[in-house]
Subunit: 349 residues, 2 copies
């Protein structure tokens, strides 16, 4: 008969054009799945999901409108997906055997049966790297940080680097990479506790709480007396505008995401009024999506695993337990309540 489980999964009940997604938009339901190898199709594996990565970009897939990040919208009544780490419990593919740990974009569920072709990589555990690290510094956020700082930002020794959402999953890795490159790194984040954290645990040279700065321009004048060479933008809006008043000649602004703008329809987003500064300062602003950089993923993974094993890069993960915590975890990204990478632990490893 084989192993049959009740598996809870999150599905899209209704789109959320603006505001923070809530329980009208995402709901839990229960499926019954037969996980044994003989029950699943050829070329498939069944997985127990251990950890699910909770990232801001997911929010842009819930609007029902294709704009901004232009990632496919989730479909109504269908399970939603996210990057995750799963443990193989059944396999009809010779490359995977029971107990293997894999990284993939998976249903946000307790268990799933998927074609093995969508698996991104196997994970070989290392005592110096935790499983959630594969979703943060070694996962999508870390890869985004690497592309932003090392590839597009062209950060050099002595560059003045500014990072918004500084204690978030991308920001914390980006800052450590910039420090390895010999940059001066300043972060902006949403609480005094986080400012303390990024300075004491992530190696930022300094940082500020944007909620306490009534004048972002004045804050940037204070923290960047020599101007900004690289701004890794994770927030957009007013912060991006303020930065454009402090850019140095030939500054680089890799646009990684704009979390401050995701919960608004585009006509309500904050307008940036000083793009003209980009002309005189010859600034390059460039958006990026990791799909265009997969050919560099190997370079990134090798480099980053090296840094982590040497202790040069650490990752702080906020782990919420239970599949039911996914919606609150997603909402929490917009409330400045987290330090580090938000991960849902769905099952115990």
């Amino acid at each position: 008969m084989g192993r049959v489980v009740e598996s809870r999964e999150w599905y899209l009940a209704s789109y959320s054009p603006e505001g923070v997604p809530n329980s009208d938009n995402l709901k839990l339901r229960t499926l019954t799945l037969s996980l044994d190898s003989h029950s699943i199709p050829e070329g498939h594996v069944s997985l127990q999901i251990l950890f699910v990565s909770v990232d801001p970009y997911l929010r842009t897939r819930l609007t029902g409108t294709l704009d901004g990040l232009y990632i496919h919208q989730y479909h109504l009544n269908q399970v939603i997906t996210a990057y995750a780490i799963g443990k193989v419990v059944g396999s009809r593919d010779d490359k995977y055997t029971e107990g293997d740990l894999v990284l993939l974009s998976a249903p946000v569920a307790e268990y799933c049966i998927i074609t093995s072709s969508i698996i991104l990589r196997k994970i070989h555990t290392d005592t110096r790297i935790s499983l959630p690290d594969y979703l943060s510094a070694l996962g999508i956020p870390g890869f985004a940080a690497w592309v932003g700082i090392m590839v597009l930002g062209e950060a050099k020794a002595g560059s003045n680097v500014f990072i918004s959402a500084a204690s978030g999953a991308v920001g914390m890795t980006a800052a450590q990479l910039a420090k390895i490159r010999g940059c001066r790194v300043i972060g902006s984040t949403g609480s005094d506790q986080k400012v303390k954290f990024i300075k004491e645990e992530l190696g930022y040279d300094d940082g500020f709480n944007y909620n306490k700065e009534s004048d972002l321009d004045a804050a940037l004048s204070k923290y960047f007396p020599d101007g900004i060479d690289v701004y890794l933008d994770n927030v957009g809006g007013k912060m991006l505008e303020a930065v454009l008043n402090h850019v140095n000649k030939y500054a680089r602004i890799p646009l990684c995401g704009m979390i401050s703008q995701y919960n608004k329809v585009w006509t309500e987003r904050e307008g940036v009024r000083n793009l003209l500064n980009m002309v005189g300062k010859e600034v390059r602003m460039e958006g990026f999506m990791l799909e265009s950089y997969w050919h560099r993923y190997g370079d990134f993974a090798t480099e980053m695993e090296g840094y982590m094993k040497e202790g040069k890069i650490t990752s702080k993960n906020k782990i919420n337990v239970g599949i039911e915590s996914f919606l609150d975890s997603l909402a929490s990204l917009f409330s400045s309540s987290n330090i580090g990478k938000v991960v849902v632990q769905v099952n115990k490893a």
Copy 2:
């Protein structure tokens, strides 16, 4: 005794933070100059100014605030300067003799005495190229068009290219360069007469009058059913925002200038609300100033003179006569009243 002339020149009487500069800001005065070689210092030449180039960027030097293009502000009570063609009337430099024609950034005056080191190049007249062409297609606007389209825009055969201020000095040259590259080129301009002009005389595939389009988004949907690959931005503001709703993956947006925004202080400029689209579409937006591309000026000049001699690129120049017409000429840039490059003819050649 030598040749002594009365020379009128424009000087800055007061800064103009916003609005169209007027006769309170710029005023004419008369100087007496001794032009003969023996009256001028070693290493200097005296010039009769023939043509002065009237370009939108000059406006940004009249605000009294260093922002936007970050070009040095003119000084109060000092003569203003602009690119010009002068004829040598006296010389204390062996490299220049009476009658030579030179291109330089000169006082906006009828005559001047300058150190010869600031001369950019001698002009050797050609029957197929008029003197004002050296200030338009072969001058700063043409060079800007070349950098924008050929260097930063990376326009390729088949690229969908959009050019704002399409009948202006930069736009008209940019469009012809893009056509040489095999692109599909659409222009936006401010009157039906100009739309006719750009289609019939500049080779644009199509064009529209932005003053008649109540919905720029709809206009771009109509003219770019396959999206925009390259946007050479000369205007900024609402047009740039509309373009960002129609960009293709990896679109390039060289920022050449933003004439729609020059007469406003930065906080009053039109905010661009949809920069988030740059992330998903992986758009590169890059401002440029020609000072960073002088090392390419020789390449540009050779290529452009070739095109002009072959009749592949033409330049339409709007010539206003008399030094006294400079202020109105400058103001006219902001009223959509000109077709082609605006030049003041100060003296007859």
